[in-house]
């Protein structure tokens, strides 16, 4: 595998059983490459298989067929024990910050959880320093540490989720509809935050969204999915200004113009 790639996948397939004689082919022969440092967006209507693809790439679920390489090493088929390094290097930011943060945990514990789990720091004070550093990265104030998730607005909760996701200095951040539930003003703040974090930390980002305008702001390359398949993958400017596939053209035509 080439050096410039952080992640690549070939011929991934995944179907789910939905009834006694019913299967849905959620991901149908998907191959893609994620280049180091880029933001690759996956767009498509709901149900087209975006989340399933993301979960396969992260090895949260197993594909029926196909292979995945992370930093040159094949991770598909690796047993959990051998996945430790790649688990640490790939982190996810979810759509709904409310349900992805444990309501009984204080913010301090939520953010320090990965640091503790990976035994990153041997002293409490070093860990505390890192927590403060993370808070500053996501623009949260120190006084939030002793509060609980429900005491924050949706946008602030998403900042907490991002702080937790970047705590271990991951190489690849997967954002699954991370800004979709937010109002425009908060959405803009979080989009700016993701973009600046990416620059500061040299992150690679796989950005999943159904919103073509949001994707246009953040993505370097765009992959358009329909019915579990990729129908077009190209640099963002190409997708928006010179779409080739009929479905891409159709999606673009549906966006209300402001």
């Amino acid at each position: 595998m080439e050096d410039r790639l952080i992640l690549s996948a070939s011929h991934l397939k995944k179907s789910f059983r939905t009834g006694r004689n019913n299967n849905v082919l959620a991901v149908n022969d998907v191959s893609l490459e994620v280049i180091k440092g880029e933001t690759l967006a996956i767009v498509g209507e709901s149900g087209c298989g975006k989340s399933t693809l993301a979960r396969i790439l992260m090895r949260m679920i197993d594909a029926d067929e196909g292979s995945i390489y992370f930093e040159g090493e094949e991770i598909s088929g690796l047993p959990e024990k051998k996945l430790r390094v790649c688990r640490r290097m790939m982190q996810m930011v979810f759509q709904d910050p409310a349900s992805s943060l444990d309501p009984r945990m204080k913010i301090r514990d939520i953010i320090s959880e990965p640091l503790l789990a990976w035994k990153v720091y041997d002293s409490r004070s070093k860990r505390e320093d890192r927590i403060l550093e993370l808070l500053e990265l996501v623009d949260l104030k120190e006084d939030c540490l002793d509060r609980y998730p429900h005491q924050f607005s949706g946008g602030q909760r998403q900042r907490i989720g991002i702080a937790r996701a970047i705590a271990l200095n991951p190489k690849l951040l997967i954002c699954d509809e991370s800004v979709s539930a937010l109002d425009v003003c908060v959405q803009a703040q979080i989009l700016n935050l993701l973009k600046s974090l990416k620059q500061k930390m040299g992150l690679t980002c796989l950005f999943i969204s159904h919103d073509l305008a949001v994707v246009s702001f953040i993505a370097d390359r765009v992959c358009v999915m329909k019915n579990g398949q990729i129908c077009e993958m190209a640099p963002a400017s190409r997708i928006y200004n010179d779409p080739q596939h009929e479905y891409t053209k159709y999606l673009l035509s549906c966006i209300p113009q402001i």
């Binding site: 425009v184 703040q189 973009k195 159904h210 928006y240 209300p256 113009q257």
Partner: protein, 321 residues
């Protein structure tokens, strides 16, 4: 809480209320339809209903029973998530037929069924006679929203209130539903009030827009005027926060801060804490609605000028830009 809202909806017009969640949009719509939550009350003001027959009545003073009669006939409502308004155990056709029965619009069962199928067809549900027998969970989100629209339309309302009708839908389905609502307004001589946080929806379908922040109308203008010449700092902030499809800055210009979670009673402009204009007056005194031009009003001391208050019938200044 929503205070002192003045909204005019012209016949056959489509009017939008736009703002972030928690800013009082839905409260406004619900109060029009009198299904206010029990803790909320209309303490002052009126809602004047101009019947096509020329009759005028104030909805606020109507009795409970008369209100219920009007809901579904004169005024109908659709919501973001149809699943919560539909009965999961009942065939969709029968649910729509119920509306006809309750409002005594059609008592003959066969004729009622025919009318329902006709309406399902009108909202572009394929094979309406077959879909009549479907249960809500058997339909996609877009189809369920069509069912809701059919249910709203069967009473032949004069006003349709749509609260975030496309928020849960994909852009592709959203485009179809918006087109349908517009066509319904034209075909059935109906007005619509669209409540949404989505500026794209507003620009796509509305003729006139009210921008709301924390229960107060901050700016109102015809749609093209609002998008072409936004005046209020809040409107400008909202618009610059939206990523463009074809053209984007390196970073989006955002409104600093958040919508306050616990809101105290406040004398000044609701937006002043987040506003880039740092003017003392704004903290102490709410701005009146200033008239900028024909049909374009803003509630802002700084950009509205200081000597035009339409509410008090004072002189109106033209705003330079």
């Amino acid at each position: 809480m929503v205070k002192g809202i003045d909204i005019t909806i012209p016949r056959q017009g489509i009017v939008g209320i736009v703002g972030e969640s928690g800013c009082g949009k839905s409260m406004t719509a619900k109060s029009i339809n009198h299904i206010l939550p029990s803790f909320a009350q209309i303490t002052s003001g009126s809602m004047i209903w101009h019947d096509p027959s020329g009759q005028v009545c104030d909805l606020v003073t109507l009795k409970e029973k008369e209100i219920r009669k009007r809901c579904g006939t004169d005024i109908a409502m659709i919501f973001q998530e149809p699943m919560t308004s539909l009965n999961p155990m009942m065939r969709i056709g029968d649910q729509i037929k119920e509306v006809l029965r309750i409002h005594r619009l059609e008592t003959n069962g066969e004729k009622a069924k025919a009318r329902v199928i006709e309406m399902l067809d009108a909202v572009e549900i394929p094979e309406p006679a077959i879909r009549y027998k479907a249960y809500p969970h058997e339909l996609s989100g877009g189809m369920r929203q069509r069912v809701m629209i059919a249910m709203a339309m069967i009473g032949n309302p004069k006003l349709l209130i749509a609260d975030e009708p496309t928020t849960a839908l994909d852009v592709t389905t959203q485009a179809q539903i918006l087109k349908l609502i517009r066509r319904m307004c034209e075909t059935y001589n109906m007005s619509a009030l669209m409540i949404t946080h989505n500026m794209g929806v507003v620009s796509n379908i509305c003729d006139y827009v009210y921008v709301m922040y924390l229960g107060t109308i901050m700016e109102q203008a015809p749609t093209s005027e609002l998008f072409g010449n936004p005046m209020h700092p809040y409107t400008r902030g909202l618009l610059s926060s939206i990523p463009g499809v074809y053209d984007n800055p390196e970073f989006l210009k955002t409104i600093p801060g958040n919508i306050p979670v616990d809101r105290k009673k406040f004398k000044g402009c609701e937006f002043c804490i987040r506003c880039s204009n740092d003017i003392k007056k704004c903290f102490f005194e709410q701005a009146p609605l200033y008239r900028i031009s024909e049909d374009h009003y803003i509630r802002c001391h700084v950009r509205g000028g200081n000597d035009g208050d339409i509410n008090n019938g004072a002189s109106v200044t033209e705003k330079e830009e």
